[in-house]
């Protein structure tokens, strides 16, 4: 059992939890993820690691309420226990293997979309702790959905915020911001790390390909075990089949088949979404989720 040490609501549907998990806290690195199962009947939910403290032996996770399981998880309070919390899973960021001196010479731009800000944060933080400066863009639909602004602001060299509706920061999407930085402000980057919804990562990658900036993305497809056993998370990268759980979750964004990934994600959304909406709407649920007749 893993105790919830802290809980914060980051927006209506986004929750942060700091969880006591000694083994994970001791060995995790930026880029990795955990699988959380709240109780006997819950799903195994893959969640990116947002922060960790080796001293407190805790791992911080951030999740959005998208289905029945995450809804139940959001109902847990500080002091409650999570039944299963396993990790760290997946590979840590590839750039972690580079000497810090080399990283310092690099210009890295992080692009975070919505809840994707959570996995971006520990990466920027790690670099900041080593004295490596990195820029960061946080993009969201509106002001309420901008999360972890304060935290990222502290560790990023420059932080840019964009909202689709212009309610906060620059009006537009993250690509508008990248274009402005590179084309108008004359910035140049050696590496882009984009984490967010698939559609965002797809378009960032199309742009960075044009701009010839190598780009890393982090994928979060539905998984069951997260250790390479089920193959549910398979994704085409450069024409090869990879398992996001063991070969990723980070991949060369210019090689990922996003269209296939989006179709695959849809499959599970169907099942999950149905369940959630049925619960929400009860007997009145006759479609509307786009999946039921």
């Amino acid at each position: 059992m893993y105790e919830i040490i802290e809980k914060r609501q980051l927006s209506d549907a986004i929750v942060l939890m700091e969880v006591k998990a000694e083994r994970v806290a001791k060995s995790c690195l930026p880029g990795q993820f955990v699988i959380v199962k709240i109780d006997e009947k819950g799903e195994r939910i893959p969640l990116t690691i947002c922060d960790y403290s080796r001293e407190r032996a805790t791992v911080t996770i951030v999740f959005q309420i998208v289905g029945a399981s995450t809804k139940r998880m959001a109902a847990l309070k500080k002091g409650d226990f999570i039944r299963d919390f396993v990790g760290p899973l997946g590979k840590s960021c590839e750039w972690l293997s580079e000497p810090v001196e080399d990283l310092k010479k690099k210009k890295i731009l992080f692009v975070a979309g919505g809840v994707g800000t959570a996995p971006v944060y520990p990466q920027v933080k790690w670099l900041w702790e080593q004295g490596v400066a990195a820029d960061c863009i946080i993009g969201a639909r509106n002001k309420n959905l901008v999360i972890l602004e304060e935290e990222v602001h502290k560790v990023a060299d420059n932080l840019y915020i964009t909202t689709d509706d212009g309610s906060y920061g620059m009006k537009g999407n993250v690509n508008d911001c990248i274009k402005k930085l590179v084309r108008e402000d004359g910035k140049s980057y050696d590496l882009v790390v984009a984490i967010g919804p698939l559609i965002m990562m797809k378009f960032v990658c199309l742009l960075t390909k044009e701009l010839e900036i190598p780009t890393i993305v982090s994928l979060n497809p539905i998984m069951v075990d997260g250790t390479g056993m089920c193959g549910a998370c398979r994704v085409s990268v450069g024409g090869q089949v990879k398992f996001a759980c063991v070969d990723g979750p980070e991949f060369d964004g210019h090689l990922v088949d996003f269209d296939q990934a989006m179709k695959r994600q849809q499959m599970y959304k169907t099942e999950e979404g149905r369940k959630y909406l049925k619960e929400q709407e009860g007997a009145t649920h006759h479609g509307g989720c786009g999946h039921c007749d």
Partner: protein, 460 residues
């Protein structure tokens, strides 16, 4: 009494069981078990025992049943095996102990598996537990994986007095017994859980949610956590795919995923959150026991199910009993058939599978006749779901994170058969992690051999 024919075992009616997940085989009653035990010749030189990978003294336990001492029979089996209720259900006895039975030369072999199952079930129902060792060796041994190899190795080491901790990556112990083999063949709550409880009762600690290689490494276990030896029984969990077009479409699963969703995550049970896209028209590609399990699971979830296998009936690697059960329940076998492409609709979902008919050609190096395509025989099966059951290979995680541990071309850990010794000091391995996907009992045999190997190593 007819000594030539075995006492038939009662089974759930096929028409009924095709729609539920309750166990197919109902097992012997005490009277039936005694009658079957009485057929045993109690050979002085028991061939059956040599056919058993864990070397159970079969005539002795069967003799106890004949005497009406079922508890005694249980203690005989317990000397050799930690998982009798499991083995009585899933061992391929027909090619092991029962294949060597002298009674079987003329007439039916003794139903050793069903008798073992009876003894284990009786013991569980009566609350009879294995005997705990009083001896303490004050040495810690780590076991990686709580499947058949790990549980056996841990149980044997605990009986010798070692302080054993099993590290399990998933949230429930049992390995393939809980994620792979379905409820209708191996009930989880009653059978698997209680055998694991028995192993724990011997003094074994099980820590779940630990992915060795990620959460902690083998070297850390040996240096920082004070373990004197490590046994790797991490199984063969990596699924294979065919590499044909359309394989990443929605509705294509590995058998591992389909079975894990259903068995471990209990997608078939009301109240559990994990979804399963069960399918209405399902093809399972492959002919092994796992393929039968996947097919019979899909059937129970309401689908019309095909087994698609490139060789013929004779060559099916699954146990005869499993094939027979699948047929009885209504699974349709498309033999000598091989998939060429999975057909995908505009939304990315499976809509069919293009297959080709095969015929058996000349025997290859292994002696098996190679299937070859029949030109012009292609046809399309309309489907919404395809389950790939092509075998599994060991997870590279442990080898890649442990210095000095060697794997062969197939990704299997290199370890000695007789004692599980690897090239790395204090590290032993056995089961599917070493052999590639095999059977529960062979993994148990390897776990047993490694327990002896570890004891010898630590006694020096």
């Amino acid at each position: 009494m007819d000594v030539l024919n075995r006492v038939p075992v009662r089974e759930q009616d096929p028409a009924e069981r095709a729609h539920n997940f309750a166990e197919v085989c109902l097992g012997y009653s005490l009277e039936e078990a005694k009658a079957e035990a009485d057929r045993c010749l109690k050979c002085k030189n028991p061939k059956c025992q040599t056919g058993c990978p864990v070397n159970i003294d079969i005539p002795r336990f069967i003799g106890k049943i004949s005497d009406g001492d079922v508890e005694g029979a249980y203690h005989v089996i317990s000397e050799y095996s930690a998982l009798p209720a499991v083995c009585g259900r899933v061992c391929p006895q027909e090619s092991q102990c029962e294949a060597k039975c002298i009674r079987g030369i003329k007439g039916d072999a003794i139903s050793i598996g069903k008798l073992e199952r009876f003894v284990a079930d009786y013991a569980r129902e009566q609350g009879i537990r294995p005997v705990v060792s009083a001896e303490k060796k004050n040495k810690k041994v780590a076991v990686i994986g709580s499947g058949p190899a790990g549980l056996t190795c841990a149980g044997d080491l605990a009986k010798m007095g070692y302080d054993v901790t099993i590290f399990e990556a998933l949230h429930e112990p049992g390995g393939v017994l809980v994620y792979g083999i379905p409820e209708f063949r191996l009930p989880k709550e009653t059978v698997v859980k209680s055998e694991i409880e028995n192993v724990k009762a011997l003094g074994v600690t099980i820590e779940t949610n630990v992915v060795v290689g990620k959460s902690v490494t083998i070297d850390e276990l040996l240096t920082e956590e004070g373990f004197s030896a490590v046994f790797i029984g991490s199984g063969a969990g990596l699924p294979k795919f065919m590499g044909i077009p359309g394989e990443n479409a929605n509705g294509v699963f590995s058998a591992n995923e389909y079975l894990t969703r259903n068995n471990l995550m209990k997608a078939f049970t009301e109240g559990y959150d994990t979804p399963i896209a069960a399918g209405k028209k399902v093809a399972v590609v492959g002919g092994g026991n796992v393929a039968m399990d996947a097919a019979r699971t899909a059937l129970r979830l309401g689908a019309e199910v095909y087994i698609v296998y490139r060789r013929g009936e004779e060559e099916l690697p699954a146990r005869v009993e499993e094939v027979h059960h699948a047929k009885e329940e209504g699974v349709v076998f498309k033999l000598l058939t091989n998939p060429k492409e999975i057909l995908v609709d505009e939304n990315g979902w499976v809509k069919g599978m293009r297959c080709v008919k095969m015929e058996l050609g000349e025997p290859d190096a292994s002696g098996r006749r190679q299937p070859v395509e029949m030109p012009g025989s292609e046809f399309v099966l309309e489907l919404d779901t395809v389950i790939m059951s092509l075998g599994t290979s060991p997870n590279p995680l442990i080898v890649s994170t442990t210095e000095g541990l060697e794997a062969n071309k197939r990704g299997c850990i290199v370890a000695r058969d007789e004692d599980g010794c690897t090239g790395k000091k204090a590290v032993f391995a056995g089961g599917d992690a070493v052999t590639g996907a095999a059977t529960v009992i062979l993994a148990m045999g390897a776990g047993k051999a490694a327990a002896k190997g570890i004891d010898e190593y630590l006694s020096h």
